[in-house]
Symmetry: C2
């Protein structure tokens, strides 16, 4: 008989088709398989995913509440348009409010096990892999701050950063890796003030790199 113990894996509770569909559509939006400002019809998803309308509608409603799609009455759903300059400004103003504080708190209270999972992304083989590692990097720090509201808000925002970056096929910059390493060093040293400053610098530089892509 197998040696694995059933106790070490918590019971799997199927969370419903709506959740699955939600994740699927979200992944499609993030991978640009559904580009910004493109139609998303319920019927086509029914045919493509082979599930009924109900879970698709629920998934689209959740995506709408999270700002990834928008609905127009009797006209169907559409993915949100790409961020313009004003929205980019607002997003980074918000990140500057939250993430430096999160970095400070993470330096003070983050678990050592989570800290070991921090990766700067210098070993990323592709653009997509780097984007995923960047998302995970910021997610771990936000989670390390020990405030669910901070982690959730940042997750929402990072989705849009991810889409924006993917639209412009932005290069994997050495700069970003260096800035990540600076943050990691400050966190490992449990130096809250330095982590906060490093994170602020990272976001400001990141904003400068992304801002160049739009002039309007």
């Amino acid at each position: 008989m197998p040696a694995v113990n059933d106790m070490d894996r918590p019971i799997v509770r199927p969370s419903g088709l709506a959740e699955e569909v939600y994740r699927r559509i979200r992944a499609d939006i993030l991978s640009l398989r559904l580009p910004p400002d493109s139609r998303v019809s319920v019927d086509s998803l029914v045919r493509e995913l082979g599930v009924s309308q109900t879970p698709i509608r629920e998934a689209l409603s959740m995506l709408e509440a999270n700002g990834l799609v928008s609905k127009r009455h009797f006209a169907g759903y559409a993915t949100s348009p790409r961020m313009d300059r004003a929205q980019l400004d607002e997003l980074f103003e918000f990140r500057l409010l939250i993430e430096p504080h999160a970095a400070r708190k993470a330096a003070e209270g983050m678990a050592d096990s989570d800290m070991g999972r921090l990766a700067s992304g210098e070993s990323a083989p592709s653009h997509d892999a780097f984007a995923d590692m960047d998302t995970e990097f910021h997610r771990l720090i936000a989670q390390g701050a020990g405030n669910h509201l901070i982690a959730d808000s940042l997750a929402r925002l990072h989705i849009h950063v991810h889409i924006f970056r993917s639209c412009f096929r932005s290069e994997i910059t050495e700069e970003a890796v260096h800035e990540h390493n600076a943050i990691i060093a400050a966190l490992r040293a449990r130096d809250g003030a330095r982590a906060e400053a490093a994170m602020r610098r990272h976001i400001e530089r990141s904003y400068g790199r992304l801002r160049d892509f739009i002039k309007d």
Copy 2:
């Protein structure tokens, strides 16, 4: 014939039943007609509101994405439980990050017309009326900061503050009115630093008043 011109009212675009149902359920949660941690079944809403399942499911999905209800597979929806001490701490930590900054920016850029609508709530006849005026007060300032992300995040948080306060029938304190008036004065004077400090003080005092209700 009527003297009103049809041009001055923008075309009414019915936004769908799901939106209406969403607002209705949200209002019921805010008014404690649906207390925290109570079941909310789709069928009973069908009977009560007289609409089909589809818009109700969509409304509940949106409410779930906004954290007001939670779903368990094959077990129905339920309103989120009341905040505990840890969540209250997290919420006010978050507000302290956002709202003082919003007050500073509002002092610098808020429209005079919006500023005229600021009310401290000293004339509120009831507890519910004060709660609504308080929500509107903070909403106007967040909107005055000119950042939609700030306004939306604060709106989400204020819902939970509202519910928490309603649960304990907290008194209308003179203190809160005074603090509101201090903020209004700083905003009218276009003094960003003073508005920021007044807002920070208001939130800290507000936290102290609410914290006393829970010991666990």
